[in-house]
Symmetry: C2
Subunit: 229 residues, 2 copies
DNA sequence: CGACATATTGAGATGGCTCAATACCTGTGG
DNA sequence: CCACAGGTATTGAGCCATCTCAATATGTCG
């Protein structure tokens, strides 16, 4: 480790965005990066506000949601450690972002970040790939909503969380979000989500430790039902 | 008009991608651009193939679809004149693209196009904005699927087509796609689509001239039901 | 421990699906 | 020009998954 390396927060490496970067790039990024800690329930981004900052989740979980004038809500996605949010291409946000737990974040001024990304090919390629992931994820979600039954959609979410929930490769799932959040993500009602979980439990695919903790018993069957490919 | 201007196909101006560009940029683009004409039913892109080319629709309509191993299909979107397709960030396509009518296209080698875009700030900004549009569109679609009833989803599609169908600002809609395509786009069955259209006709929101031609009678109500904002 | 929010369970209503019959549209050959 | 065939769309009837509304249970925080 060189002296300069010490200045770079280790958490930079949590995101794919920063994978494989050299000292120079990381140095530039460190200069514009601010640490931020947000409480559960805190809004990082408000729908219709101007896009100023980009965040990278270091730890915790955030939820991206969208409200209509009619008062209906669609949850767009959940973001975990390493995911970035607010990296939009338009100048105004079309969604809100709220923390579901105490969350540590890196905050970058959007303009400055875009400039730096522009200057380093590897960073640019990383950014492109991550943008591609967001779109691929949206298509998966679309598929689940259009083609799958309630209990399959729940499998889709469980599978996703299990894959992306950082650190844990075990079969334990920490269901941080509320039933209403899940329902609004999957286009269902809370009652249907509850019943779907009960059904999966009855099928011995999962075990419900308590309302916010699930154990996967049959990963093969879960993936089968979750699959959008 | 200068002499060089004559070499540039007028159709370049149909897409937002090329809006506001100078002679130099257009010249570079013309060099790598190929014209292509595709028949109805022809596949431009196959799911899981390598991303080689980017297309811009000059005239006609294409459909972006995604198949699962289980044989289910989700239609991702329909693309009209001026839309580009295949401009993916990953190296492999996660969807297929098929023409719904005789279609004129511009074809660009993806790598070369990316390089040129990189060199011209305005072009880069255009590309970013168009990428943002794709995502915004996906979120709208997600919202419609998660929160709306059958007849509202149909309104969502009709409204979209009416806005994007090139040239026509009238209330006539040319429904090129089949009922199955519509159903797979909206997460419904063909029967439900049929009934939804009949219902809207009964409400005097639309008039069904024939299976593939719709007249909008009450645009306000249509937008109201279609709205995802 | 009690109060309030959140989740589960139950019962009935309903929107959308399935299966089946009919209608319409388009192209082909007599 | 008409008759017919094949594909596509509409309509009908019954069923089932999901929604709605209501009651109960569980969890959380003062």
């Amino acid at each position: 480790m060189t002296a300069t390396a010490l200045k770079i927060p280790e958490t930079f490496f949590h995101s794919k965005m920063f994978r494989g970067l050299g000292q120079e790039e990381l140095g530039r990024l460190t200069q514009i990066c601010q640490r931020r800690r947000a409480a559960s329930g805190e809004y990082l981004i408000h729908q219709n506000s101007t896009a100023q900052n980009v965040y990278v989740v270091v730890s915790g979980i955030v939820m991206i949601e969208r409200l209509s004038r009619a008062g209906r809500r669609q949850v767009i996605s959940f973001a975990f450690s390493g995911d970035y949010i607010g990296f939009t291409n338009t100048d105004e946000f079309e969604y809100s972002v709220v923390c579901l737990s105490t969350t540590e974040l890196q905050m970058f001024p959007r303009r400055a970040l875009l400039e730096i990304i522009d200057q380093y090919p590897l960073l640019k390629s990383n950014a492109r790939l991550m943008g591609g992931n967001v779109l691929a994820q949206a298509m998966d979600h679309l598929f689940a909503m259009g083609q799958k039954k309630a209990h399959e959609r729940v499998c889709f979410l469980l599978d996703q969380i299990q894959r992306r929930q950082c650190g844990i490769s075990k079969s334990e799932i920490d269901l941080v979000m509320s039933r209403q959040d899940i329902a609004d993500y999957l286009g269902l009602t809370i009652e249907t989500v509850s019943r779907a979980l009960a059904k999966l439990s009855g099928m011995s695919v999962i075990e419900i430790t308590n309302a916010h903790r699930i154990r996967i018993l049959d990963r093969v069957q879960l993936e089968e039902m979750a699959s959008v490919h």
